[in-house]
Symmetry: C2
Subunit: 410 residues, 2 copies
């Protein structure tokens, strides 16, 4: 089978490398060899071993009927959407690692694939090399999935791990991540939760059946997390993790959001350190399932793309059904209408004054300790309640709210 | 699509329940409804809601051409093998949860499926509801897998967890497991590692491409583990887990074995507690991937069966390739020819005497401490070396060897 790769960057070049290095294994899995016939990239690759098959002209790939499967690893929506949609319309399978494309245009592209009886697959778009998409859409298909929750951004997890384990500040840990190449010069998409948000939109669409678009999804990053929060969390036997979650709530609606959370040390999610990712899927029949591994990296992500290429090879006449329908009105619930338990750090006149104010509004809460805290601050964890009510109560204490972080229940 | 269920026990009745409770979701995933048309069981189910479709005569199922897929949840090799092979030969897909059948006759049955252009699937045979088989055979197909290691038996993991967390003895923990229904009256298959061994044979066959039969696989259980070992392991920052592993070693050979291991507390495998299971897959491209969840239970296991039923529905003309060939001569390596690091507990005349004997034979080792140990015992961890050499050296110390446990490197 001949494939073309669109975009010869980190993932695209990894795909070529995996197909070359593990050619035997790929051929055994497909039943025939897979050949990279063309590569699209706007840059010059003078003297590169793939130079003769690299082109700047997408039409050469589109017009080559011998190319059955197109691999899109360009990133971004434009021109990726145009190239992918025209490839599907031309009867080619498409495998993509592009989370932004899948999160924003997934339904359209799956529809187009359906109409043309070809496959559109995107295992690599979430969790790099970790099997997540196929387990959710295939292995757990007998379940009603009630929640998906993941640590889906390696950069922010690396930063949090350095804060928790090595006592670095957010700024120091970010600088180290940039030095190591884990974070970009402009780290906004990673540390503010945008990357994780795109990924949870994809998982929510898959798990619950209607396209969840990124617009308007509540997204809170980790740039406000301090070492004081980390210390208080430890006193509650928790670590702080950036959790992207999608959950069935009342009246057929779902809640999709990204925010830092306190995660109990006994939870499998708490053991996910450094640049690793994990995704927890709660099914009505299976209970909690967790998938863990490297969430990024050239070869790991590329190997997920290659897994999809092999799957396409086996399904030339047999399209995969993802059960991902168009968006639905009145489908997304506001997090303020859902229940949470909150960790809160406040400042006031004195410890006694703070406790009086908190107790009078909240009734019972769990107070936390940290070494070195002065008498004018306190931290506590509330019982679970409607978030709107919790934030109103916080306001009613009249105290200076320094930080609030949700408490996860897995 | 019509299916028949062979064996209406824990898993078989779970399959019927999952298909009924999640009928909407199954229909959406398949594109059409799935109906349980017949159930085979030798028992009477007087007044049961499925009574009218239950039969004691397999021929009625085999002869019914409207039944496309047969679900085998009987367990054991006989008569399961006969029923499964005849179903495949008759052109029916078969989905099985039967680890003993797959471990001992998997290659034959896959060959028979291939010849008849139908599917033989068995996601539920390993890890209950946890997606393991499909991730290994599909998602990670672009990798050369170098090792698979898992906590694959919930009963023994429950016992070890109770020993580690609650300080119960092996006997007390086993009695509790039996009381809770996690262990059978005769717990041999679980606590002596036989169940885990069958499962790792299946995973080894899938990951490395040649059928690994259970006969002759080195299998050590947990009945010899004591609270003293647990305490020493803690001093090495480890917990003791029953690990089933399959690993590529020298000269194209593989090592397949089951034994207790010391697992570092920083490892994701150490967090797998109680009846939960986990499987770690080491790929050359992905690095370490871990899948975690409930490894047993009626509905969890049944949901994996239903996932396979749905996959069969989508592949009526398109057989899945597993790349599982017949056995190969000179393929399995003896564990004594492979490298390990060993934890050892010994008894001698005095601590000084023990140290002298150990140091003179081993050179440097790491000595461990436990509260309450008397002066006549010691425990240590060796550097990694060929197992045969390590055991010979132990003999050469002239000390009384109380226990030896391998140290895992993940």
């Amino acid at each position: 089978m001949k494939v073309a790769i669109l975009g010869f960057g980190v993932v695209g070049s990894g795909v070529a490398e995996v197909l070359e290095r593990n050619a035997d294994r790929v051929e055994k899995a497909c039943g025939f060899p897979v050949e990279v016939a063309r590569i699209l990239d706007i840059r010059d690759f003078e003297g590169h071993k793939y130079q003769r098959i690299i082109t700047k002209n997408f039409e050469e790939i589109l017009g080559d009927d011998s190319i059955e499967t197109v691999v899109e690893t360009m990133g971004g929506v434009n021109p990726a959407f145009e190239f992918v949609s025209r490839s599907l319309a031309k009867g080619k399978n498409v495998v993509s690692s592009n989370k932004e494309l899948v999160a924003t245009r997934g339904y359209e592209l799956l529809e187009l694939a359906r109409q043309n009886n070809v496959n559109f697959m995107f295992e690599a778009a979430v969790g790099g090399g970790i099997p997540i998409i196929r387990p959710i859409s295939r292995c757990l298909a007998g379940n009603n999935i009630t929640e998906v929750a993941g640590i889906l951004n390696g950069t922010s997890n690396f930063i949090l791990t350095k804060m928790i384990v090595d006592g670095m500040s957010f700024g120091e840990a970010l600088a180290l991540a940039q030095e190591k190449g884990y974070a970009e010069k402009d780290p906004t998409a990673d540390v503010e939760g945008i990357d994780a948000m795109r990924k949870i939109c994809i998982l929510a669409s898959l798990a619950f059946g209607h396209h969840v678009y990124p617009e308007g999804i509540f997204t809170e990053g980790i740039s406000g997390i301090t070492l004081e929060d980390v210390a208080y969390a430890a006193d509650f036997d928790c670590v702080i993790k950036l959790i992207a979650k999608a959950k069935k709530v009342q009246d057929g609606r779902i809640l999709v959001m990204v925010s830092p959370c306190l995660v109990k040390k006994s939870s499998m999610l708490s053991g996910v350190s450094g640049v690793f990712n994990a995704c927890l899927v709660r099914g009505d029949m299976t209970g909690d399932i967790l998938m863990y591994g490297k969430g990024a990296g050239s070869l790991a992500t590329a190997s997920a793309v290659v897994g999809d290429i092999i799957d396409c090879a086996g399904h030339s006449d047999n399209r995969k059904i993802f059960g991902w329908d168009d968006k639905k009105d009145d489908y997304l619930e506001d997090h303020l209408n859902c229940d949470s338990s909150l960790y809160v750090r406040v400042r006031g006149e004195s410890e006694a004054e703070i406790h009086r104010a908190v107790d009078s509004v909240f009734g019972e809460v769990t107070y936390l300790k940290r070494e070195g805290a002065d008498d004018r601050e306190a931290a506590f964890v509330t019982a679970p309640a409607r978030e709107r009510a919790l934030f109103e109560k916080l306001e009613a204490t009249g105290l200076d709210i320094i930080s609030t972080i949700r408490v996860a229940d897995y």
